[in-house]
Symmetry: C2
Subunit: 157 residues, 2 copies
């Protein structure tokens, strides 16, 4: 179904670029809704899930809160409290850094790894069941999205 039909738009988009902007946002929200539904039974928010994935991707190298924020898809200012929740659940450990007592080392625990593995097996069906699109097309999509995020040099946002 095309975007115009899905959002029941009457006026056409004023440009392909405007449509692409809306299309990216709409698709993202669509993915969010699906993921959210899948994560709900695990009592884990998407942001918590993403932090867990970031830590898992570190191969046991601890990272700081600021580094987590850097790597997050949505640069939330609440990483500190997100980590809190993961600590309470036992999925994450947070220790004061030895070299810098302001910063802290955050690392995923074995329990966190197991939990994530369990979730991933459930979520992988999501990947299988969406996207009527070939490997070549996925490659193109990824490249176009990367290009789409370029800003003009003089722009100041």
């Amino acid at each position: 179904m095309t975007l115009e039909n899905e959002i029941k738009q009457i006026k056409p988009f004023s440009s392909k670029k405007e449509k692409a902007i809306v299309n990216v946002i709409f698709t993202s929200n669509w993915l969010f809704a699906i993921q959210n539904k899948l994560l709900k039974p695990f009592d884990l928010s998407i942001q918590q899930y993403n932090v867990l994935r970031i830590l898992n991707g570190q191969n046991d190298n601890p990272i700081t809160i600021n580094q987590i924020i850097d790597r997050m898809l949505d640069k939330t200012s609440n990483a500190s409290r997100l980590v809190d929740k993961l600590v309470i659940k036992g999925f994450v450990r947070r220790d004061q850094k030895e070299t810098n007592r302001r910063a802290c080392d955050v690392v995923i625990t074995e329990l966190g790894k197991k939990f994530l593995l369990n979730i991933k097996s459930k979520l992988s069906t999501l990947e299988d069941e969406i996207g009527d699109i070939s490997e070549e097309e996925l490659e193109v999509l990824n490249n176009l999205l990367d290009a789409f995020r370029k800003k003009a040099n003089y722009s100041n946002f």
Copy 2:
């Protein structure tokens, strides 16, 4: 810049589709942050802005709250309170429907139209300054996103 660099990922994505999922979400958040920054001086949230655009797209035909929800990019359950805020600002009118006293007619006011026009002129620079990508590529991007949102018939999310 590629996605992997932007989110400083160490492990590669396990599939092009997984990368595409993250890429769409990341790009959407990127767009959100830019739009948010541009709308901030107007004291208007993105959701309020979107509702205003939906109403403006109606060519003076009133629509109900449910129809607004239908057309929204993020199907929030708070359309009622969003309309509240726009009514307070004088950008929108809400009347009880004559044919159905449960429902209501929501319509944009002249003030709302003027306000939107003013904002749009500011936001159009956003469109001009992002996306290093041709018209043909935008067409491809839009089609790929539409295809990406397809679900397998048997899937139940």
